[in-house]
């Protein structure tokens, strides 16, 4: 081992782990990949900001799930409880709601950047497709989350939004019933949307985020214009 007098305690802790796990080389390869000069611009950060917002949604969403009750009788009451009785409940819920809107905005901004710098071209077409899937997942997150407060805005927003599915030729009505868990928005719709919002979409998001990130690390950021 190195025995210079300049080894700080952080280096020594790092060495201790490295001697046992042998992680320094793969970790450095992962973390110390240089960003090309042409990409050190603020508009190359939009995707990262979107992911940061996704992480915030994960944390605040888990916190909200500790107090939220997805039943027609108690959904709105539990929202009032979070806003009025739980300490910082207003803050956690507001962050969740604002970050949701911001995440969609940054998704679109990231997409525009990729389009303008032509970064979707060969061999990166599939990463563009993964990104589009992630945009759709984000919108689905927003749509299912919108119903959960179970107030008038939520009810009618979901009624109008889901009605769009009903105009699909031939199978529209079946699809609508499948989405709503019946022909109308009821408690069954609420639990359905809750399950999709909390379990199905996060799992899909992890899969596609993983793909999105692995591909970009393998292929690197596209060259300058």
């Amino acid at each position: 081992m190195e025995t210079t007098s300049r080894r700080s305690w952080t280096t020594r802790v790092g060495d201790w782990f490295d001697e046992r796990f042998d992680v320094r080389i793969p970790l450095e390869a992962f973390l110390k990949k240089p960003v090309p000069k042409h990409a050190i611009k603020w508009y190359f950060c939009l995707g990262g900001i979107t992911f940061a917002l996704f992480a915030i949604q994960g944390v605040t969403g888990i916190l909200l799930s500790l107090y939220y009750k997805p039943t027609p009788d108690q959904a709105y009451e539990s929202i009032l409880f979070i806003m009025n009785n739980v300490r910082f409940g207003w803050l956690i819920r507001s962050i969740h709601s604002w970050s949701a809107s911001l995440m969609i905005a940054f998704c679109v901004a990231h997409m525009l950047r990729v389009y303008i710098t032509a970064s979707y071209k060969k061999p990166r077409e599939l990463n563009w497709v993964a990104g589009v899937v992630l945009l759709l997942l984000t919108l689905a997150f927003g749509f299912t989350g919108y119903l959960l407060p179970w107030d008038q805005k939520a009810l009618w927003g979901s009624t109008v939004g889901s009605e769009i599915l009903g105009v699909v030729p031939l199978i529209g009505e079946a699809l609508l019933g499948l989405l709503r868990g019946g022909m109308e928005i009821t408690g069954l719709t609420l639990t359905r949307f809750y399950g999709i919002h909390m379990l199905v979409l996060p799992m899909l998001a992890f899969v596609f985020l993983g793909a999105h990130f692995i591909i970009i690390r393998r292929q690197g950021i596209s060259g300058p214009l």
Binding site: Q74, N85, F88
Partner: protein
């Protein structure tokens, strides 16, 4: 550099912290502390058991002083984000939900008729919450109300 007492067996002494180094560590430490504190404080407070077990709130809310609601008048106050009408009746203070049981409009106190009125469909309730006229399907829920000194308290729980 002033290297003193490099005893065998023990590792070499670390360089003394420079002025720049001290600033760097102080700034980093301060930033880390503020960040961790700013994020963790709300989260731990959020997880801490909330004061009221009931979603409608449990504690009594001081809505007004007795001078604000003279005899024969009534006013709507916000109790845990819900409108509650407090009326000064000859039998004492009465508190009722101010949400019409018909379509949810906010009720007001009609001083001339001494009745609770709904502006939407001309419904009337008496001071006990019973429907006197109009389309409401059920009476108004009432709240416990209590006067302590010259302050009026409304319980969050409907009785």
């Amino acid at each position: 550099m002033n290297e003193t007492g490099n005893t065998a067996g023990k590792g070499p002494l670390e360089e003394p912290v420079s002025r720049r180094g001290l600033f760097k560590y102080a700034l980093l430490g301060f930033s880390a502390l503020v960040t961790v504190g700013g994020v963790l404080t709300p989260i731990i407070a959020y997880l801490w058991p909330p004061k009221q077990a009931s979603a409608a709130g449990g504690g009594a809310v001081n809505v007004a002083s007795t001078a604000d609601v003279p005899p024969g008048t009534g006013q709507v106050f916000s109790v845990y984000n819900k409108p509650v009408l407090v009326i000064n009746t000859p039998d004492g203070y009465q508190a009722l939900s101010a949400t019409c049981t018909h379509l949810g409009c906010i009720l007001f106190w009609n001083e001339q008729r001494q009745l609770i009125a709904c502006p939407c469909h001309e419904a009337y309730f008496n001071t006990n919450g019973a429907v006197v006229a109009g389309p409401p399907p059920s009476p108004l829920p009432t709240y416990r109300v209590r006067v302590d000194g010259d302050q009026i308290y409304v319980e969050g729980v409907e009785s």
